[in-house]
């Protein structure tokens, strides 16, 4: 018994090591690709240039009745006769941006071999985004139950982020993605397809929004998922161990499929809008830079 369990564990260890090596092999490629994309997007929108929580002086501003009296800087106010000033510091507390990408369970799908899997595209965007945010001085964190860990910053942050990213495990279950467990108001970027029941997603977004998380959802879709270009008698399956769905004439269901797809996306976008979250969508047939730019603009707009 002991012998078998030890063999089993050693086998697991071996598997793990093999997987690790495989992923390690992916790492430089992903990093390189992400660097390449991020490099084209050196926008340099750094510095908040506005008042906010921070240590650096920013400006004195005349007191307003709406301001808290505690905020009055008496030393400055004393210099001028009838004026009360408020000292404002430059908002320089670094944002934490959490990134979550879906993994497995239908997300690792591409219909056309010429296009990347949705998951590959999501990882690329996540890595590139991490590089961009790191350059902008933000702290980046991976939203993952196991390999999430604390937010990263510093020069090696992107690499460590990507390492965590490719180590993460299948996470696209029935439940919505996790929310960052923090009191801080953080940014969270969710890259996935969100092919999930809307009520659950709505609950999740509401919950996150109530936590003060500013979420951004990017729905990454394969073109075939949007267009449903199939014809004839087909058995669709997501993973081989699931019972397939048989369609006698797939083309006949195309229109209704597209309607359902569009309705889902529209509703999801509406829910996000209502809770102040942002909703983006991306087709794997479009260049990844497009998605990255959109994400970056949104995040930069936040700052």
């Amino acid at each position: 018994m002991a012998a078998t369990s030890s063999i089993k564990s050693s086998q697991q260890a071996l598997n793990l090591q093999a997987r690790g090596e495989q992923e390690a092999a992916r790492l430089p490629a992903l990093l390189l690709a992400a660097e390449k994309i991020a490099g084209t997007l050196m926008l340099g929108l750094h510095g908040r240039h506005r008042a906010g929580p921070g240590e650096t002086f920013w400006q004195y501003r005349p007191y307003d009745v709406s301001d808290d009296r505690k905020m009055i800087d008496w030393r400055q106010s004393a210099r001028s006769p009838s004026r009360l000033y408020i000292r404002q510091t430059e908002w320089e507390s670094a944002d934490i941006v959490y990134i979550w990408t879906a993994c497995g369970n239908g997300f690792d799908f591409h219909y056309n071999d010429a296009l990347p899997e949705k998951q590959q595209r999501a990882e690329l965007i996540a890595a590139a985004l991490a590089i961009l945010l790191n350059r902008a001085g933000e702290r980046i964190g991976l939203l993952d139950e196991k390999h999430g860990g604390p937010p990263l910053s510093g020069r090696d942050a992107p690499q460590r982020f990507v390492t965590r990213l490719i180590q993460r495990e299948e996470n696209t279950g029935k439940s919505p993605p996790p929310l960052p467990q923090t009191r801080q108001k953080v940014q969270a970027v969710y890259l996935g397809d969100f092919y999930q029941p809307l009520d659950r997603l709505a609950d999740w977004i509401r919950k996150g929004s109530a936590q003060g998380i500013r979420g951004t959802l990017m729905q990454i879709c394969d073109p075939s998922e949007e267009d449903f270009p199939f014809e004839g008698r087909l058995a669709f399956y997501q993973s081989p161990d699931e019972a397939p769905l048989v369609f006698g004439n797939a083309a006949a269901s195309r229109e209704r499929y597209q309607q359902r797809f569009a309705a889902h996306r529209q509703t999801l976008a509406e829910i996000c809008r209502r809770h102040g979250w942002r909703f983006l969508h991306h087709r794997t047939s479009s260049p990844s830079l497009e998605a990255l730019l959109a994400l970056h603009n949104i995040l930069a707009g936040e700052r």
């Binding site: 092919y195 075939s224 998922e225 199939f230 008698r233 669709f236 399956y237 006949a252």
Partner: protein, 948 residues
């Protein structure tokens, strides 16, 4: 299983229970309908949206009906295959009584002999394990020595099988008399127990003209039924028979008969072969539907027609579909000695009757005696010729003693002549009496006499005596003892009508009546034709056939299948008369006698009719059964293999339904390309239409070589060839040219354009070439070739007298368009091209060497002469054999002169190959001078400069 066997009576099953599984097929049908073919499966990310969608597909979820049908067919085939279907399962042969197999092994059974054999073999299989008495017998007549072997038993099933395998058909018609005798022998063996009798009948009744065959058959059938329960096996196939040759006029024909009218046309071929097996003719034969008889004309030239030995139908091989031919079929050349008659062609002329009677069977030639003997006729007829020139008599006597047959007819002239000579007329059998006699006249009291008898020694012995011949007048023979002649036909009072006398190897035959009907009715009776036909066979068959004692040994015997066998050693030679009777076991059909002129005895004689056994009459009390046309055959493999292939088709269809086969639409462009390519490829391109280059031209084009024109005189050609070969060797040694061995050119055929130099020896008997050949020569010269014409007469030619060879050359050249010529000028390029020579010496130095005139040079061929004409015999000078020994002497001058001959040869070849360059070189000084005068400055060399 019941209804199935009703549909296929020949089909049975070893495991019929499995067929019940077929009942489950409808259930299988519904099962298959419920299980649709698996759809093409596809991984899809957007499954989330599909989950709630209702599938209101228009594609049926069931398998399409044709696929269902296919699968049901597969299942049914497998079930039937497993049930062990057997086609033509043998009769189970149940019972315990003795079994008797009666086999008709006559020739009508031969065509489908395997049916009998298979029936017997499967019966033997069925009888295996049953403890029953088995007897077997045949019905065909056999030689007495073999009679015992025709009834065998009791046998074991194995022995029966062996017996069946060893049984062969005989070439005789069924003889129920013999069968009856065997049944009588069998009866005691059965000891009164009723037997189960299987009569494997041949289904035909062969009747001879005057036989009454019905009664033996009926007695035979009766006897069979007395012995037990009879089953008559009978084939539905018709029996074909080929009936003897009939000659009508010049045409020869055979008759093909069938025992049944056929539903479809029956087509085959008839092969006619000579005695040595050489095929003479192959005639397509068609027996039209509904007909029972067709005539097959044999159209062959006279000479080939007499070579006919066998005519064999290429279908239904049996002794009955072969006809052998012998002399009686052939056309004999007969000479009729001409008589100056002024009533030729009229009914008063005896020749008219002879021609009428003989024309269908012989070629009749007219002429005088010497002429006819020259033309090698087999029989000469003297019709009422009395007096003959002594020379003719001598000729005829020699001819007869050498084997000729002389047929004479009496008549007024002969009667006259007998009077003259006092009875000893030459070339008659015996001594003739003067005056003859006449019956029924006003002053005679005797009645006209009938022909009553053919004697035994006559060739007519087997003919029936025609009763309608009345003789009114005849010539009588001197009734002396030891007459030395034979009487062949006698009248009622014993006086001979026809007499014959052997003379040397030949025979003299005399008809004692005239060929005109005024002496007797003979010329207008059918008997006359029959007798003449018999006489016609004599030249071919030889006189031996006349000898009643003579016997003919069998040469080749026909077996039941119609093939030839060597005769059994037990067969004895038989007499001619027996050869005219139908074949019997002692006289089997075949060829007899002398191999050069064999006598044929056919399985089917002239008087034979073949009719189907009146089966309905017999069927009254004998049940009939058709032969199993096929041996038992297990079909399981066939069914299972078919099912396997259908299953393969099914799997391909299933793949196609699931969309796993390559899309046909995608293949369309490829198919179009392949089609277009194949169309292009199949379009013959222009280049392929050019005639192919023959090997000789190809070789000459690939390697430079000298050539000479084949004069047809082998000695001349040999010298020329040796000369050019040696010259080629010298060229190889001394110059940069490395020619291959020279070739002979046929002006009529060969392509000249590939040769630089042609050497042509013209002698007085050179036949002038055709216009085409001369045209080819002109083209050769215009195309830059050098033609060397050598008349080899330089030593004898003079300006005043033409040699014969020179004349011949002039005749030939007068037809060719050649440029103007001049004698070889001093300093000509021919003397400068390699060696410096003043002349072109060969074996002689005489005569003039002509080249194209310098005045005509500009223009064509860059000024190089296309022709050299001389009589110097250069080739003769060059000709050395392999050991460098000259073929011909050089005359005065010897080795040095030969060396000059080689030098002139080398110069000629150089001119032929590099003429224009050599000319330019020759004139280079002049060229430079001209260039200098034009003020262009001194140029060392001006290759493209003008020529002088």
């Amino acid at each position: 299983m019941g209804p199935l066997t009703a549909f296929f009576p020949a089909l049975s099953f070893t495991q019929p229970a499995i067929l019940l599984g077929l009942l489950a097929l409808p259930a299988l049908y519904f099962l298959l309908r419920l299980v649709p073919p698996p759809p093409r499966s596809l991984r899809f990310g957007g499954l989330f949206f599909l989950r709630g969608l209702k599938d209101d597909s228009t594609t049926p979820a069931h398998a399409p009906w044709w696929l269902l049908l296919l699968r049901l067919a597969i299942m049914a085939l497998i079930l039937i295959g497993l049930a062990g279907p057997i086609l033509n399962k043998p009769d189970p042969m149940t019972g315990s009584e003795p079994v008797l197999f009666v086999v008709d092994n006559s020739w009508p059974a031969a065509a489908r002999w395997e049916l009998r054999r298979d029936t017997l073999v499967s019966a033997a299989e069925a009888l295996r394990g049953q403890n029953r008495l088995i007897f077997a017998m045949t019905t065909a007549p056999v030689p007495t020595r073999l009679e015992d072997a025709q009834l065998v038993g009791p046998l074991s099933p194995d022995e029966l099988r062996k017996w069946a395998r060893s049984l062969e058909p005989t070439p005789f018609p069924p003889d129920h008399k013999a069968g009856l005798a065997r049944l009588q022998r069998l009866a005691p063996l059965l000891q009164g127990a009723p037997a189960q009798i299987h009569w494997l009948s041949d289904g035909v009744l062969v009747t001879h003209k005057d036989a009454t065959p019905e009664s033996p058959l009926w007695r035979f059938v009766n006897r069979l039924t007395e012995l037990g329960a009879v089953v008559q096996w009978q084939s539905d196939d018709p029996v074909f028979s080929l009936h003897p040759f009939t000659a009508k006029g010049d045409s020869l024909s055979l008759t093909l008969r069938s025992t049944q009218a056929l539903a479809d046309d029956f087509s085959t071929t008839l092969k006619v072969t000579a005695q040595n097996g050489r095929e003479l003719l192959s005639v397509p034969v068609t027996l039209p539907a509904g007909e029972r008889e067709t005539e097959i004309p044999i159209s062959l030239p006279f000479s080939l027609r007499n070579e006919i030995a066998t005519a064999r139908l290429q279908a239904n091989h049996s002794a009955g579909t072969v006809q052998l031919a012998d002399a009686s079929t052939r056309r004999v050349k007969i000479g009729l000695v001409e008589r100056s008659a002024n009533n030729q062609g009229s009914l008063l002329d005896g020749a008219t009757y002879l021609q009428q009677a003989l024309a269908p069977y012989a070629s009749l030639l007219n002429g005088d005696v010497a002429d006819l003997i020259d033309r090698q006729v087999g029989l000469i007829i003297l019709d009422d010729i009395g007096r003959m020139r002594d020379s003719d008599v001598a000729l005829l006597e020699t001819w007869v003693s050498n084997g000729g047959i002389l047929l004479r007819f009496a008549g007024p002239n002969m009667a006259d002549a007998i009077g003259d000579k006092g009875g000893s007329l030459p070339l008659t059998p015996g001594r003739l009496r003067f005056g003859g006699r006449a019956f029924g006249g006003a002053l005679t009291w005797e009645q006209p006499q009938n022909l009553t008898q053919f004697t035994k020694e006559s060739p007519f012995a087997d003919l029936t005596v025609p009763e309608d011949i009345i003789v009114r007048r005849q010539i009588l023979t001197d009734p002396l003892p030891d007459r030395g002649f034979q009487s062949w036909a006698l009248l009622a009072d014993g006086t001979p009508l026809i007499t014959a006398q052997p003379g040397g190897k030949g025979l003299l035959i005399l008809f004692h009546v005239a060929t005109t009907p005024d002496w007797s009715d003979l010329p207008i009776s059918g008997g006359f034709v029959m007798m003449l036909r018999r006489i016609l066979t004599l030249p071919e068959q030889g006189l031996a056939s006349l000898d009643p004692e003579a016997s003919f040994a069998p040469l080749r015997i026909i077996n039941g299948y119609g093939g030839f066998d060597a005769p059994a050693s037990a067969l004895k030679p038989i007499s001619f008369a027996n050869l005219q009777k139908p074949a019997t076991p002692e006289t089997p059909p075949g060829f007899y006698g002398n191999p050069d002129a064999p006598i044929a005895l056919n399985a089917i004689g002239p008087q034979m009719t073949i009719s189907p056994l009146s089966t309905k009459a017999i069927a009254g009390f004998v049940p009939q059964r058709p032969y199993q046309s096929e041996p038992a055959k297990a079909l399981a493999v066939f069914f299972l293999v078919t099912a396997f292939f259908l299953a393969l088709i099914d799997s391909v269809l299933a793949l196609w339904l699931r969309g796993l086969l390559p899309n046909l639409k995608k293949l369309t462009p490829i198919a179009v390309m392949v089609l277009a390519f194949s169309l292009i490829a199949s379009t013959p391109s222009q280049a392929q239409e050019l005639p192919p280059i023959d090997a000789k031209t190809m070789a000459a084009a690939l390697q430079t070589r000298l050539a000479y024109i084949d004069t047809g005189d082998s000695e001349t050609d040999r010298i020329t060839r040796a000369g050019l070969t040696t010259l080629s060797t010298y060229l190889y040694r001394r110059t940069a040219l490395e020619p291959a061995s020279p070739v002979a050119i046929d002006l009529e055929r060969d392509d000249l354009s590939v040769y630089p130099l042609l050497y042509w020896v013209i002698s007085e008997d050179t036949s002038p070439p055709s216009d085409y050949a001369l045209g080819a020569l002109e083209e050769f010269m215009n195309g830059g070739g050098l033609l060397i014409i050598d008349t080899r007469d330089g030593d004898v030619a003079s300006a005043t007298r033409q040699t014969p060879a020179g004349e011949a050359m002039r005749r030939i050249l007068s037809r060719i368009n050649i440029p103007p010529l001049e004698p070889l000028p001093a300093g000509h390029v021919l003397g400068r091209s390699f060696y410096l020579l003043d002349d072109l010496p060969g074996r002689n130095e005489g005569g003039t060497v002509w080249v194209k005139a310098a005045s005509a040079l500009p223009g064509q061929n860059d000024g190089v002469t296309p022709i050299i004409i001389g009589g110097r015999d250069w080739a003769g000078a060059w000709a050395l054999d392999n050991n460098n020994v000259p073929y011909l002497l050089m005359g005065t001058g010897g080795i040095a002169k030969r060396e000059y001959a080689f030098r002139s040869g080398i110069n000629m070849v150089m001119v032929a190959l590099t003429g224009s360059y050599k000319i330019d070189q020759l004139h280079v000084n002049t060229l430079l001078e001209q260039l200098g005068q034009e003020g262009n400055g001194p140029q060392p060399f001006a290759p493209e400069g003008g020529r002088p």
